[in-house]
Structure formats: structure tokens, C-alpha cells
Symmetry: C2
Subunit: 235 residues, 2 copies
């Protein structure tokens, strides 16, 4: 593992009150007084591609708000292979399951350099206990995760390899918001779409040849949304 060591930089104590994306995140509804309840520091951390937020089975001590970057949540399958069950971008929360006690369900690995806020379990628990304003956001985040999981299943795991890939491109597009899009390694694409690396590679290559996507630089693509939409629906 070339990049095994923790490529993480501690950036200091986060200032939630002045957070630029606060309306997107878990603490959206908190008010001045609520922040007085935070007695354990919330840290802001930058993690390089390849680094981990946590590993499946680790004892859950913190949840994470993703400020920027891209993170994959993966699970290990019966046969040892890995399956990517979700991609998280700006505004998402990772590791909420620590609030339900116990260990992390997934391994969370960074795909594109990520700026995250580390929310110690006790902070979230305390806020949740003492102010009702967090409840709504927590519900929203849970429900959002679940919705994402269900869409993942219906969108990225049905139809032919090409249909799934087209849907993945579109998913990535409105996850990151901007073009061109940085695609993942072929192995990851396979792990998302339930395909082998080879089939994923073939499908991407096909798209490139047919001009449905255009590679502007290594693994960065500009999309022809109309054609992707049609492909996603099945021709």
C-alpha cells in the first residue's frame, strides 16, 4: 500500500458558527446558544486520496461531515471482494451509525481529496439530547442516506452494463455539480455497478469511442447528457 500511511492533515478546531456550508450540514438549524453545548472540539481534517476516515468494524467514536471531496463507503462481501454501497460528497454525513451505538458498518475511503469535520459521538449525542433543533436535521440525514441507498439499488444495479454506467455518470454529475467529471478507477466502477473490472473498462471505452463522453484529460470527462439520458433509459 503505497498510500497506506495516514495522508491526513489536521487543520485546527472548526468554527461551526461561521461555516460556509452550514445550511447543508447536520448543524444547519443550530442557534447561538446551542454551540455553547459543544465542549469537545470539532476538528477539521484534510485527507488525501486513498486515506480512510474509518474502517468497517472499528469502534465508532465520531461521525463526519464532508465539506468537499468524494468518499466511498464500502462493504466486504461473502467472497472477500468489496462492494461500494454509496458515494458521499459535499454536505453528506458519514458514520451516522455511531449514534445507534456500536461499530462502523462500512469502510470510508477517500477518492478525491476531502475536507471533513470530525464530530465526536458525545457532541452529537449531547446536542441531540439537549436541543430539539438537531432532531430534524438528523431525521433528514438518515432519510437522505436511505433514499440514496435505495436509488443506488434501483438505478445502478439494474439493466445492462451500459445503462448502469450511463446512470453512474449522471449520478456523479449531480453529486459534484460541475463538469468535467473525474471518473473513478475501473475497479471502483465495477464495484459500484456489480460488474467486473473488464466489463467496466469495455463500457467506458465504448462510451469514449461513441462520443457519449469525451476525455478532456486522464479520467476526466465531459458528458453528452442527452445521449446519456437516453442510454440510461435503455436506448
Amino acid at each position: 500500500m503505497k498510500r497506506g500511511q495516514i495522508d491526513a492533515a489536521w487543520l485546527g478546531k472548526a468554527e461551526c458558527k461561521t461555516c460556509g456550508i452550514r445550511d447543508l450540514v447536520l448543524f444547519a438549524d443550530l442557534q447561538e446558544a446551542d454551540f455553547q453545548l459543544i465542549h469537545v472540539p470539532i476538528e477539521e481534517v484534510l485527507i488525501e486520496a486513498g486515506g480512510f476516515l474509518y474502517q468497517a468494524g472499528d469502534d465508532g467514536v465520531a461521525a463526519y461531515t464532508i465539506r468537499s471531496g468524494l468518499i466511498k463507503l464500502m462493504q466486504y462481501m461473502p467472497d472477500g471482494g468489496q462492494r461500494i454501497v454509496r458515494l458521499l460528497g459535499s454536505g453528506s454525513v458519514a458514520g451516522l451509525e455511531v449514534l445507534a451505538g456500536g461499530a462502523y458498518e462500512h469502510s470510508a475511503q477517500v477518492l478525491q481529496p476531502a475536507l471533513v469535520c470530525r464530530l465526536p459521538r458525545e457532541v452529537v449525542e449531547r446536542l441531540n439530547r439537549e436541543t430539539p433543533r438537531l432532531h430534524r436535521q438528523l431525521m433528514a440525514k438518515w432519510s437522505q442516506s436511505l433514499k440514496l441507498a435505495d436509488e443506488w439499488l434501483t438505478d445502478l444495479n439494474t439493466g445492462t452494463a451500459r445503462q448502469r454506467l450511463a446512470r453512474l455518470f449522471l449520478h456523479l454529475a449531480n453529486l459534484t455539480g460541475e463538469e468535467p467529471i473525474r471518473l473513478l478507477g475501473r475497479e471502483d466502477v465495477g464495484a459500484i455497478l456489480s460488474l467486473t473490472t473488464e466489463t467496466a473498462s469495455r463500457a467506458v471505452a465504448d462510451f469514449k469511442r461513441q462520443g457519449v463522453v469525451t476525455e478532456v484529460s486522464t479520467n476526466c470527462f465531459r458528458l453528452d447528457r442527452d445521449r446519456l439520458d437516453r442510454l440510461a433509459a435503455g436506448e
Copy 2:
């Protein structure tokens, strides 16, 4: 639709305090005083196979606790077909997303006659606002749903048709707890495993011929768990 009409029987106002499976359900931690907060009646309803708890897109006015029976949550795919994203049995909660506002994400249809408790949104919201004892259970239920969704993806949507079917049998076994197991229609099996009805049928027929499962009566099976375990892992 022969059974289209609402095959539901209203059984009366539920008595949560004396509920036999209360330690399994959402209200597990509530105390005597908390029940005073319930001003809108919680109804107990029996729904026949084929009936719906709610339909995707309906305005969400209640969540449901499942006391017994089996319920499928389904979503409609881009091409109009339906996809089953979860199965709910005793102790599960359906329609929690109403707490996050908005409409139901799925259609919830009954597979095996179900006894459910209807929890009006305002009841859950009020309890959640006024007593912290519901929080933990709500977290637990959310987290449980999400875990189930992820397992669904990794277990029932990877590997060959036979592997998936084997895993489905095992899933059903520890969902209902007892043998023999009532299997679903082949179309539903297909909608769960991302297979066509024909492939699902062939796989089930194979299992019967090889004695991995034994049909004791129409669509009721006794399982050879050891062999299913081995099949699930891939021979």
C-alpha cells in the same frame, strides 16, 4: 385486480402499554407518563395479502409498526418495472420517512397477512419532541433500515442467480424465524434478486430437484441450511 379492494380490518385502538412485542418496536423505551402524550389514537389494523399500507408518492401521514406478517417495499424503475428494496417482518417499521417530511418513498404491499399499528405522524413527532426516550429507538430503527438496505445490495445483488437465491432463502429464514418457509411468487423473487421471472423459476426448480430445499406444500419449503450456506458462498 381481484383483491384490489382494501382487504383491511380495523381492529380497534391499540393498547401500547400492554403490547406483547413492545420491546421490539419503536416505543420500546417509553414509560408510563409518555403514553399520556398520545392524544391521537393509534389503530391496529389487519391487512390481507395484496393490500397496501401506502403507495409511493402518497402524502405521508403515518408510519407503521409491523406486529406480524410480511411486507414488501417496492420502487418503480426508470423502465416502469418494479424493484423490491426491502422486506419487513415483525418488529420493523415502515414509512419512517414521513418524519423527514414529504411523501412515501416506496409502495408497501402485504405479502403475508399483516397485523400492523398505525402511528400518525403527529404522535411520533410529538413524542419525539417531548420525550428523549424515543430518540434512541428512532436512531436504532433508521440505522437498522439502512443496514438492511446495504445488506440487500451486497447479499442479494451479487453473484450468480443460484447464490442470490440461496441467500434469499437464508434471509427469509431468519426474518420469519421458523420453518417451513413460505416463499414469494417467482415474479417477486425476480424483483428482489434482479432476475427475470424465468430465471428465478429455474433456480427454484433446480433447488427443489437437488433437494437443497423441499417443498412441503405449495410454495412452502424446508431448508437444508448447510448446503444453502455453501451455495451462498459460491459452491
